[in-house]
Symmetry: C2
Subunit: 193 residues, 2 copies
DNA sequence: GTCTATATCGAGATAGAC
DNA sequence: GTCTATCTCGATATAGAC
C-alpha cells in the first residue's frame, strides 16, 4: 500500500468530506480539518500538494460511496422497478443531514459551478451525476423504456434534487417524506403496464 | 431621500448582486465590488457597517425583482392558468445565466444554509421562496384547487429548482427548455377539467 | 460624502528540524 | 513520516484627512 492507503491520509479525507458538506468547500480551512483530526496543518502537505487535491480526493470518496449505495440497491433486489424504488428512498436514510445541509453532490456542484478555478474537480463531480443517471437509465431500459429511458432518468434525478432543495430551504423533513412518496407513486404509475 | 436612495449605494448593491450570483457570496470580496463599481473599498462602510449588511440589501433587491416579475405575470393575463404558464417560462428568459450559475435564489440559499452565521439573511431568503409559493398557491386556488393548492405550488417550485440544478451541472440549456415544456404540459393536464 | 492609508486577522502554503 | 515555525497574501474592517 502506497501513501494513498495511509491511515492519516484517510482521516484527513474523511474529515474534509464531512466539513465540505456541512460548511462548504470554500468555507472549510486547513485549521478546521486540523481541529477535527488532531493532525497539524503542515502535515497535510505531505499527502496533498494543494487544497484542491484534497477536494479531488473527497470527490473520489463520494463517488465510491454512491457506487456502493447503488450496489446495495442492486443486491437487495433483481427487479429494476424495485431497485428504483429503493434508490428513491435513499435520501430518507440520511434525512436529518439532507434537511440541514442539502444534497452532498448537488450543493457541492452548485458551489463549484461558481468557482472559475476547479475545472478538474467539477468534471469529476458531474461524474457522480453521470453515475446515478446511467444506473437509473439502465433500470428504465430493463423496464422496457427505450429512447426515453435517459430522459426519465434525468427527470427522476432532477425531481430528487428539487425536493431536496425545498426541504433544505425550509428545514422541512415532512416535505422530503411526502415528495419521496409522490415520486414512488409516479414511478409505480409509469411502470405499471 | 435618505442614504438608502443614494446612487452610489445602489451601484454597490447592483454590483454585489451580480457578483454574489456569479461567484457566490463568500467568494466575492470588497475588492471585487470595488473593481466593478470604481468605488473605493473604504467608501462601502459609509453605507454598510458589514459585508452581511450588503448581503441583506442584495436579498431585499432580489425580493423586489421577483415581486415585479410576478406583477408582470399578473398584468399580462388575468387567467391563473395562463399566469402559471408564464411563470414557468421565466427561467428561459435568463436561460444563459441560469445554465451557467444556477438559480439566483436556490444557489444563494444552498450557500447560506452552510454558513452558521447569517440567520437573518437566511430568513429573508426563505421569504423569496415564500413569495413565489404564495403566489402560485393563489393561482391554484383560483383554479379550484383547495387544500392541495399549496402542495401543488411547492411541488411546482421544487420541479423548477431541480430542473435548474441539472441544467446548471451539465451546462445544458436543451434540458432546461425540454423540462420547461414538460412542466407546462403537466400544468395544462392538471388544470384541464 | 468621499477617499487613502493602514490595522488586524486568518487563509493557503513552505522550510526544515526531528 | 511527522510536526513546528514561519512566510506571504488577501480578506474585512477602521481611522482620519479632505
Amino acid at each position: 500500500m502506497g501513501t494513498k492507503g495511509s491511515a492519516n491520509r484517510q482521516r484527513i479525507v474523511d474529515a474534509a468530506d464531512r466539513l465540505f458538506y456541512s460548511r462548504g468547500y470554500n468555507q472549510t480551512s486547513f485549521s478546521d480539518i486540523s481541529d477535527e483530526t488532531g493532525i497539524p496543518r503542515g502535515n497535510f502537505y505531505y499527502y496533498f500538494k494543494t487544497k484542491e487535491e484534497i477536494l479531488e480526493a473527497v470527490v473520489e470518496s463520494r463517488v465510491a460511496i454512491f457506487k456502493s449505495m447503488l450496489e446495495q440497491c442492486d443486491s437487495k433486489s433483481s427487479d429494476p422497478r424495485e431497485r428504483l424504488l429503493l434508490f428513491v428512498g435513499l435520501p430518507l436514510e440520511n434525512e436529518e443531514q439532507i434537511v440541514q445541509y442539502g444534497c452532498p453532490i448537488g450543493t457541492l456542484s452548485s458551489e463549484l459551478a461558481k468557482d472559475q478555478v476547479n475545472e478538474i474537480s467539477n468534471a469529476k463531480l458531474t461524474a457522480v451525476f453521470d453515475l446515478l443517471i446511467e444506473w437509473c437509465t439502465q433500470q428504465f431500459h430493463l423496464l422496457g423504456f427505450d429512447t426515453n429511458a435517459k430522459q426519465y432518468a434525468m427527470d427522476l434525478i432532477a425531481r430528487l434534487q428539487g425536493n431536496t432543495i425545498i426541504a433544505n430551504v425550509y428545514g422541512d423533513s415532512e416535505f422530503l417524506m411526502r415528495t419521496t412518496n409522490d415520486v414512488k407513486k409516479w414511478l409505480k404509475q409509469i411502470t405499471s403496464n
